[in-house]
């Protein structure tokens, strides 16, 4: 396959070159949180404010948590606005502002890899509309038709009369014009993009290399107190009583308070004093019925779901899989399992709140500022217009800082007890590990039938595991089937379709819930399902005596986009070509968040069973590639996140609580374990897919398949720290 000009190979090995003298930060890197546009700035529309000095303020509604979305969103606006990339500033609207202007900035929630793909249409149109108004203002002034005017880098030119002006000079007049009819807005063909579609430095890097970036945990509000908190370690447990006689007399302690019905907080002058005070509070919990639950009891509950005849729902059924398998010459059968996982954002959960009689405020890192606003209003009892959420970029999100906003609710519940005083609540790492919305645990039983020549006759897969929607959004469950739990295995195209069409296929889901809170975790259920689908495909290929790539290709003729990405990584990785002695390859492809992903991993396993992942080639078709360099960064990050889960990730339950409470028992992979990652971006420009999550689902299965090739034995249970490879 030839790479055409719309494909990118992003090589990210060490550059090795010497750093040129006088290296400058890109100008755009100076763009930081702009002060609200002063009276001199003209709001051309909700997304674009133009200052008299020609700087353009781009308004941003989505959250930045490292995925580079703010830069990508700005690229899309600037592309259509035709302003100078080096003269932009970003302004971050608050949830209260969005509410007060009837949600003119639309959805602020940032999850499901929707940051770019969910905003691109209205943002590009916003940029284009602003440009049209600026051009119209110049045309009115010059009394010439707009068709005779050209615009580039914020300069408007009428060549025929030799006149030109700048955005800053016409902005005030443009702001008074009526916005163009949406139907009159013609967006550029991506082939003509000059700013979008190009590898572009992030606009917000500088404050992250000099320590000046203010995360929510760094917030300082005058008169602020600090809170340390602990909730009942057993999920669902309650607070019975606490003895704070010792804590109350400790240095800096201002108060010890009950939080909801399940937690205690110590409020002090500093967080360290609050934490010391909390350590000195003797707390009695009512652990309730869940205090005896263990990982073993949960595993047994899920295992029953693999064979139960009731409480099982068919997500898809094509042909008669049971008949095809029962009549098969050869049967392949396997049971896979994946554990609960924690997000472990580097910045622990925290929130600063100030609640007075007529105003509620929080300073918070959130993936859903409007969700934070709603939580603040509900918890404080103050109406929405009296509430405000000050957003801070997130020190990691990965799904943890979206939905339930438990950290906002808790901080508000504490601050309410200190009216008018700002209180910053920070969870210790241990508290953070103990209270999460964990990636759900699941198992999968898989059966395949082959004829005597190794041809596949049918597949039967059944996922048994906990449902996220049952915990977070029960209304999304139809007839007992939580479709989300078979994400990536669906028949429907477009979002998370299985890339294979089998001669006969039965896919079932058995909802088997536990008392452990669950939620989205980067890639959500494509992670577990990617392992099940792709590792089992290798097992069946082996039983059929076929090459794993060729075996897959037989079922992909109706899935050309899945196949193209698989082929792209196979070619880039040299699939089928000789490897150094002791190295083995594994391959996988899967789909999620509207994007197509594939991977080839190269590993070696020593005679002692030590694993080394040397190289990973990841392929992604996300439709439109807005910033290829940031896409590569996300792919690299997904490898680290996915490999950590593969190697180490596991939250176990004992006595109803999570056992792994810090990084010594919940390890995260380090730099020395990072393989060389090569990213192949193959955008087809006929759809918009996500970027932050899609590639993680192929990381574990490609590595596990390479291990299978190396050792001859499939790995069916994660993480690898529990598996002997020799």
């Amino acid at each position: 396959m030839k790479m055409n000009r719309r494909q990118f190979i992003v090589s990210t090995a060490a550059s090795g070159g010497s750093l040129a003298l006088g290296l400058q930060f890109p100008n755009a890197a100076k763009a930081q949180t702009a002060a609200p546009a002063g009276p001199a700035g003209a709001e051309v529309n909700a997304w674009v404010v133009v200052n008299p000095d020609d700087t353009c303020v781009i308004r941003i509604a989505r959250s930045e948590m490292g995925q580079g979305t703010h830069t990508g969103l700005a690229q899309l606006v600037v592309e259509e606005l035709e302003c100078d990339w080096n003269q932009i500033k970003l302004e971050f609207i608050t949830a209260g502002q969005n509410l007060s202007r009837k949600r003119v900035w639309k959805d602020m929630s940032t999850g499901g890899s929707r940051g770019i793909r969910g905003s691109q249409d209205y943002l590009r149109k916003g940029g284009a509309a602003a440009r049209m108004m600026l051009v119209q203002a110049a045309a009115n002034d010059w009394k010439v038709p707009v068709e005779e005017i050209t615009v580039a880098n914020g300069v408007i030119t009428h060549a025929a009369s030799g006149r030109s002006t700048t955005f800053g000079k016409v902005a005030a007049a443009a702001a008074k014009l009526e916005a163009p009819d949406e139907k009159a807005i013609k967006l550029k063909d991506p082939k003509a993009w000059k700013v979008a579609g190009k590898p572009t430095k992030r606009v917000d890097t500088l404050p992250m290399v000099d320590g000046s970036k203010v995360f929510a945990i760094d917030v300082k509000v005058p008169g602020m107190l600090n809170a340390a908190v602990t909730a009942c370690p057993v999920f669902g447990g309650k607070l019975v009583s606490y003895d704070d006689s010792k804590a109350k007399s400790m240095p800096g302690v201002k108060g010890v308070v009950k939080v909801h019905d399940n937690a205690v907080a110590v409020v002090a002058d500093t967080w360290w004093h609050a934490k010391k005070g909390l350590d000195a509070v003797a707390i009695k919990w009512d652990e309730g019925a869940n205090g005896s639950v263990t990982s073993a009891s949960i595993a047994e509950h899920l295992k029953k779901g693999l064979t139960d005849t009731s409480g099982v729902y068919a997500e898809r059924a094509e042909g008669d899989a049971a008949a095809a398998i029962s009549g098969a010459a050869k049967k392949v059968e396997a049971v896979y399992s994946t554990p609960f996982l924690h997000h472990a954002t580097m910045e622990p959960m925290n929130c600063t709140a100030r609640i007075s009689a007529d105003k509620g405020e929080v300073w918070v890192a959130t993936q859903n500022a409007e969700g934070s606003l709603a939580a603040l209003s509900e918890e404080s009892g103050l109406p929405l217009p009296k509430c405000e959420v000050y957003r801070h970029d997130l020190g990691g999100g990965f799904g943890r800082r979206g939905g339930p906003q438990d950290f906002v609710r808790q901080a508000v519940a504490i601050a309410k007890q200190f009216p008018g005083t700002p209180v910053k609540m920070i969870w210790s790492r241990e508290e953070d590990q103990a209270h999460c919305y964990y990636r759900p645990i699941s198992q999968c039983r898989m059966v395949a039938g082959l004829d005597k020549d190794g041809n596949l006759l049918g597949m039967h897969w059944r996922v048994s595991g906990q449902s996220i929607n049952a915990y977070m959004n029960p209304a999304a469950i139809k007839d007992g089937n939580d479709k989300r739990q078979t994400q990536g295995m669906w028949v429907e195209p477009g979002d998370a379709q299985l890339g294979y069409t089998f001669p006969a296929f039965l896919l079932e889901y058995a909802q088997r819930n536990t008392h452990v809170p669950v939620g989205p975790w980067r890639g959500v259920n494509t992670n577990q399902n990617g392992v099940y689908s792709e590792c089992f495909m290798d097992e069946v290929a082996k039983a059929a005596g076929k090459d794993p790539l060729e075996f897959r290709r037989q079922f992909m003729s109706k899935h050309p986009k899945h196949l193209a990405v698989l082929d792209a990584v196979a070619e880039k990785a040299g699939w089928g070509k000789p490897l150094p002695a002791g190295r083995f390859r594994g391959i996988a492809q899967f789909m999620g968040y509207g994007s197509y992903s594939a991977a080839v991993a190269e590993v070696s396993v020593s005679p002692k069973g030590e694993l080394k992942v040397h190289r990973m080639v990841l392929g992604l078709n996300c439709g439109h590639a807005v910033n290829p360099d940031q896409i590569a960064a996300q792919v690299q990050g997904s490898v680290a996140y996915g490999l950590t889960a593969t190697l180490y990730g596991e939250c176990t339950i004992d006595k109803g609580r999570v056992k792994e409470l810090n990084f010594h028992t919940y390890p995260v992979m380090k730099l020395a374990e990072m393989p060389v990652v090569e990213t192949v971006i193959v955008p087809t420009y006929d759809f918009w897919g996500g970027v932050g999550e899609p590639t993680i689902c192929v990381v574990a299965p490609s590595v596990l398949n390479a291990i299978h090739a190396a050792t001859g034995k499939p790995v069916r249970s994660l993480p690898l720290k529990n598996v002997k490879l020799a």
């Binding site: 060490a14 550059s15 090795g16 070159g17 010497s18 750093l19 003298l21 290296l23 930060f25 890197a29 948590m65 490292g66 995925q67 580079g68 430095k201 992030r202 890097t205 500088l206 992250m208 290399v209 000099d210 320590g211 000046s212 970036k213 203010v214 995360f215 945990i217 760094d218 300082k220 600090n226 500093t270 967080w271 360290w272 472990a344 954002t345 580097m346 910045e347 622990p348 970029d393 020190g395 990691g396 210790s428 360099d629 940031q630 960064a633 690299q636 990050g637 490898v639 680290a640 996140y641 810090n662 990084f663 010594h664 995260v668 380090k670 730099l671 020395a672 990072m674 060389v676 990652v677």
Partner: protein, 165 residues
């Protein structure tokens, strides 16, 4: 007690068992140094004490002498001009950025010891956790900074390496 931080003497009030991290963040107001784990596992709190990288979350302030020279990310350079910071920006290393102060402090300490580190040297020295997974770019940025002609020049002025000189 007196602490020498970024070349300036600060008078701070804190019990001796208070970790240096929380003194820096809450008493001195230097929040570039981050809390990550509190048990010296993640390295987000890395600072230099007499040129050596230390995990300040597990260093009681009582163990720091008035003559010890503490350098935080804020004291590394004016205007993010240290070659390591420039390399970090050139390669766009940070994603969320939370761990990057610690990563940069660890890299500066490594380069002060080994101006031309091998990949194995980087593996051994760069043990801070990054949850976003910027490791590949961290490696590239350390190599990029190590090739900088500015490194030697700046290193002489850098508080981080005065102890070594």
């Amino acid at each position: 007690m007196k602490l020498n931080i970024n070349g300036k003497v600060h008078d701070v009030q804190a019990e001796a068992d208070t970790p240096l991290l929380w003194v820096l963040r809450e008493q001195v107001g230097l929040t570039g140094t981050k809390y990550g784990c509190g048990i010296a596992q993640c390295g987000a709190c890395s600072v230099h004490v007499n040129g050596k990288v230390q995990r300040s979350c597990s260093m009681p302030v009582g163990s720091v002498k008035a003559t010890d020279k503490i350098v935080t990310i804020e004291g590394l350079s004016a205007n993010a001009s240290h070659p390591v910071q420039k390399a970090w920006a050139a390669i766009d290393v940070p994603q969320c950025g939370y761990c990057q102060s610690g990563q940069i402090m660890a890299a500066v300490a490594l380069l002060a010891q080994k101006p031309k580190p091998s990949d194995a040297d980087i593996d051994a020295a760069m043990t801070n956790i990054c949850r976003c997974g910027t490791y590949q770019r961290i490696r590239a940025a350390v190599h990029l900074a190590s090739g900088s002609e500015l490194l030697g020049e700046n290193a002489e002025q850098s508080p981080a390496s005065t102890a070594k000189a």
